[in-house]
Amino acid sequence: MKVTADQVTSLKAYLRGDTASFERINAQLDPTNKRARGALIAAAFYSAAERAFADGKRSDVIEFVGRARARSERLAEAIDPRVAERLLLATFTDEDIDDISGETQGDHFGLLLAGMIAEAQLSDAELDAFLDDASKLADSWLG
């Protein structure tokens, strides 16, 4: 099982905030290959967190979550600050997230990933390179 090009394209549309393109590509994806795209999202989340919090400061994580929630009322309701901080801390500390359900993790991975990409203000080429790295990491996870 490997990450496909369509899955990478759909995630790129999501991270650009292009909801129409995302939904159109998403409808064409193979439903039996869900695990590969889940690995791609998690790998992208891990890579983005590794770049954004290279210093490993908890205060940076808290400030980022606060900024993301302050963007809109919807985001403030959708993002649980404690869950978001724990998921980000889990990328570079021994934070245990076993008690957080898969659905909650999925909700927060997408929003936090998009928040980190939006703050990084990546160009199109940089976003492609980032997704290429994440795809390779996901492939290595899938074996």
């Binding site: 999202i41 590794e50 963007r71 889990a90 359900s101 999925g106 998009a114 928040g115």
Partner: protein
Amino acid sequence: MAIDRDTSAADASGESGSEQRDQTRNPPPDRPGVEGFPSRAESRAGAAAANKDVDQESDQMASDSAKDKSALPTAGKSGVEQNKQGGCKASGAEADKEQSTGTAKETIGGKNGASEQQRSASSERSANERGSSENAQDLNSESKKSASFILEYKAIKDKIDPFRPNFDEAEGSKGKYRWTAREGQSEWTDGVGSLRDLPDGEELGERDEDRRTKSDRFLGKIQDNLDDINDQLEKTAGDVSDLFKPPPTGQAETRADNSPVAVDVHQSGVDPGNAATAVLVAGIVAAEAFRRGRDKIRERSAE
């Protein structure tokens, strides 16, 4: 002696000569892909040839040392025999010198000139070492005596401490140095300005290993939820657009309440220690009151 025509022609014309000098000034190619840099096959062939040369040299050295060992007693023997033949009894050093030069003279025109010269030289050396000895037989017997003494000394030493370490081979066996061709996967490093800027291979290795370990550790935390993570992405697609809008203007402020606030008085609970103390005090007071009352009753009854 043959003269290279190309070289001489190049030297004859001034321009071509200067070009040739420029070519000689250029540094040799040091990276693959540069013109003149040997290919991988050529470098491997060179390494094999270098190893072959090392083997041949070591074999040659071994055979030379064997020859020297075999030549030494022969030379000594011939020197002794010649001493006997010459009948030299007094002034051993001078006589040996003459004998050795005579031997050299005799053997110069012989068939094996080189080996005879070597033998005569070694006999001269041994004769000079003997120096003041009068005849060769005495020396022979002395050398036999010293050899037997060394043998006995070693035998006794082994008996005293048979498990002693062998210091003669303390450094262990040394293998031959061999040239090896670079592996195909190895990469050339970029140049650095100073030695301090050289990358530490150990650190880089640890970093890569550390990153791999961290990502694997994170995978272990979310491995069972990959399907759910995929499904939830569609549900949050509507909220993502807010993240790409410009952030709200102004700055975050915390509202402060200036109006007075009624605060409940702190009510501490009953402490067991205080209760015990109260019971004790009450008991003492009651006992004292009882004692005074009893004393007054006794006084009235006495009156």
